[in-house]
Symmetry: C2
Subunit: 203 residues, 2 copies
Amino acid sequence: MTTQSRKSPDAARRSEASRRAILTAAFELVGEVGYAKLSIEGIAARAGVGKQTIYRWWPSKGAVLFDAFLALTEGQDGREAALPDTGDLEADLKTVLRATADELNDPHYDEPMRALNTEILQDPALAAAYAEKLDGPMKELKKERLRSAQRAGELSDDLDLDLAVEMLWGPLRTRWLERGGPLTHAYADRIVETALNGLRHRA
Amino acid sequence: MTTQSRKSPDAARRSEASRRAILTAAFELVGEVGYAKLSIEGIAARAGVGKQTIYRWWPSKGAVLFDAFLALTEGQDGREAALPDTGDLEADLKTVLRATADELNDPHYDEPMRALNTEILQDPALAAAYAEKLDGPMKELKKERLRSAQRAGELSDDLDLDLAVEMLWGPLRTRWLERGGPLTHAYADRIVETALNGLRHRA
């Protein structure tokens, strides 16, 4: 919102308050009514603003929801936390994948995340924005933890880190997306063990 | 359509012809206009049937599309082909994953599959039907190939085969879904090698 620089401080503060209210309303509402029934009208009513205020800033409900996800990560003092690094890669990955499973099991997140994934499936521009602004920074943190394990000799230097991330987080994501089974801590642990050790039988 | 058994042979034949025309029309049309613009009206016009004919058999466009996918697999003489089994698991998996990558890259399939995944994300009942009728039988064929590798000593007997399938096919699916990068044969090969060997460095 570069227009804010031309506004008075009070107007800028009111704009920011409206923006926050709209993003919060979008996130809450999609969790209650589902994405198909989410509407700009509904978000405006919940946020206590006019429809036009929303349309001035966002072209679609998908764009509002995307920014609501971005605001969630911004909320954490402007930057993502690094992954735990205790020196034990297997233990650290289990900690993180268990937390991911918990998040995917949380009804507060499940519906908004399904909505976001629906938009990503359909809209190449939003998929690119997701890759750049949401998934990209998260993926970089995951790769940073794997690089640390490479330095410690736990992982090979020539490992394809993008693929390693996909192999660790992909099964959880696929099972969630397809509702293919319970996302338990035992499942999270087994993913980590299987990915690290490989499928091949070793005598 | 159990009602067909009460119809005359001619009526049953006409019904089956209409059903096939509707499924073909749905599959073609979604590839041309995208899922958001796919409508029962459009499918009816393309298939040369009345809207009511479609509504008599299917409750939604998602349900029509789902049956269109089912019909594709039925088309192959009533059963799925087994995965190749040359005795070399790594080579066979590469053959299959390369074919999967080719299919995901084919514009003829890309849009219908995005539409199907959109419905699966939103609709638990369709997700269950997908798991039972489409993904389940495919997954069983994949597991059968892995069981053969277990018998040959290539894979451990205590391997979690569901997880193994997710680990092999999940990265390709995630990358396709998120448009996260090109789905090349080299990428397919690397998935197989990395999944079989594991991420862990071995001296």
